[in-house]
């Protein structure tokens, strides 16, 4: 197992990401990962907060129009995240905090799917938004994104190989 992780970490691609000055190097990938996060969490949190009562005049029917952008942000982060992981596979893949982050993201996406299903089923999306079930799902979604941000940020601080200041 450790052998496999070492091979990933010392692959040509991972070496190149660590050493290059190009825009697609380590910090460039971190930049893209941050922008992807802002898109995914921004759009998701905007509508979650709407369901929880903030900006009540915002029609929820608009939410599905923004989903393609959300998924674009998610794709940016899946790709940049995988590449970033490869550069430090031996540490990150044995760090429990990394798996906390992955679980938070999976649950966050699950909550989003359930939310869209509930809204799609209801006769009118804005009536569905008033049900307790939908509100709970919106709160769960917000909590998952917050959890993912906390766990993600703490990856720099906890576990072996963390670059503690």
């Amino acid at each position: 197992m450790t052998n496999l992780l070492l091979r990933i970490e010392h692959s040509g691609l991972a070496e190149w990401i660590r050493s290059t000055d190009s825009i697609f190097g380590y910090y460039g990938l971190l930049t893209m990962h941050t922008i992807g996060m802002a898109i995914v969490v921004g759009i998701s949190a905007g509508f979650d907060l709407r369901i929880l009562g903030f900006a009540p005049g915002l029609p929820l029917a608009a939410m599905e129009k923004f989903l393609p952008f959300l998924w674009t942000g998610f794709a940016i982060n899946a790709i940049s995240g995988t590449l970033l992981l490869a550069t430090d596979a031996t540490h990150k893949l044995v760090n429990p905090d990394f798996y906390v982050k992955m679980v938070c993201i999976a649950l966050g996406l699950g909550a989003l799917q359930l939310l869209m299903r509930d809204l799609g089923r209801a006769a009118s999306v804005d009536t569905a938004a008033r049900s307790t079930n939908t509100k709970v799902m919106a709160a769960v979604s917000l909590a998952c994104w917050l959890g993912a941000i906390v766990a993600g940020r703490l990856l720099a601080y906890v576990g072996a190989g963390s670059d503690v200041r």
Binding site: A38, G42, I43, L58, F66, F69, L146, I149, R153
Partner: protein
């Protein structure tokens, strides 16, 4: 030209400008003039944003003065401490002014309690800024000091600016290991809240979801963006005051310039009347689309400049 010139150029706006804004605001209140009141609120918001740049370039000026003999560290420190307090009070006044502009549409004017808060904040800011400016002037203006104070030979070398790197403000963050990561998390949360408003508003102006969204609907999201902005201003101030040595150089100054432009960009959505013609199914005017597109580009560039600080700037 270097950052010291920039600091010396920018430092006139917070003092003189806020004083003028205050005079306009008082005139607006006494004459019950909506136009004057609104104009002064715009001045307060824009100056509060611009002062971010004034504040951070002071750090570069201080770093440069470290190599200058005859600049007493206590004078620089006193100016910095006074400027920090004035900066915080000014930002609070700016937030209340922003809120006043945002609620203007619904309330049809400035709410009484908010007018009082802005008046108190603006008076306090003008006084504190004048004090900070005076202390800044004393760093190197022998004509306004008593004779002999600046006799370079009489100055202990240990008192030269920057020779005392241990500041009390940074020490709290250093001694409490939870402060820095907590502020980082909040900085990311603030970014997401700001982007929630920016992405949905700007994309709607550019045509996304236009069949169901009017401008009035997305206007309600603006406070979410303001909350994110304030959260990031506050946590950013913690980073900056704790380890100012990380935040020197062109990339950080560029980031702050972009933040000022981003704040001005958001102000357009609070002020422009033309946006309220955008109903469900309506296309936004071309100027609105240009402002929205520019806004998205500005915030992407802000994230780029911030995230690249360890690689291209002086952060560690």
């Amino acid at each position: 030209m270097n950052y010291i010139h920039l600091h010396l150029l920018l430092n006139h706006f917070p003092t003189v400008g806020f004083g003028l804004g205050l005079a306009l605001f008082v005139a607006g209140l006494s004459q019950r003039s909506a136009d004057l009141k609104r104009a002064s609120l715009v001045i307060f918001v824009l100056l509060a944003a611009l002062t971010i740049l004034t504040f951070v370039t002071g750090n570069d000026a201080q770093a440069a003065l470290r190599e200058t003999p005859g600049v007493p560290a206590p004078a620089v420190d006193a100016h910095e401490t006074a400027a920090l307090l004035a900066f915080v009070v000014m930002q609070v006044t700016g937030v209340f002014s922003w809120l006043g502009l945002w609620t203007w549409r619904r309330a049809g004017g400035l709410v009484r309690w908010n007018a009082a808060a802005i008046l108190i904040g603006a008076v306090a800011t003008t006084g504190l800024m004048a004090g900070a400016a005076n202390l800044g002037g004393q760093i190197r203006h022998p004509e306004i000091q008593g004779a002999g104070v600046h006799d370079a030979a009489a100055i202990d070398p240990a008192q030269v600016a920057g020779a005392t790197p241990q500041r009390s403000r940074g020490r709290y963050v250093e001694e409490h290991s939870w402060v820095w990561p907590t502020c980082e998390v909040l900085h990311y949360v603030g970014l997401c809240l700001l982007c929630a408003a920016v992405i949905i508003i700007d994309l709607r102006i550019l045509g996304v979801g236009k069949q169901v969204l009017s401008f009035g609907a997305v206007y309600q999201l603006l406070p979410l963006g303001e909350i994110g902005f304030v959260l990031n201003l506050a946590t950013g101030l913690v980073f900056f005051t704790a380890t100012p040595q990380q935040y020197t150089g062109v990339l950080f100054v560029l980031k702050m310039l972009l933040v000022v432009l981003g704040a001005a960009n958001l102000l357009y959505f609070v002020l422009a009347d033309e946006l309220w013609t955008i109903d469900e199914g309506h296309d936004a005017p071309i100027r609105a689309k240009m402002v929205a597109g520019t806004g998205l580009a500005i915030w992407v560039a802000v994230v780029f400049c911030g995230r690249m600080l360890p690689a291209l700037g002086n952060a560690f």
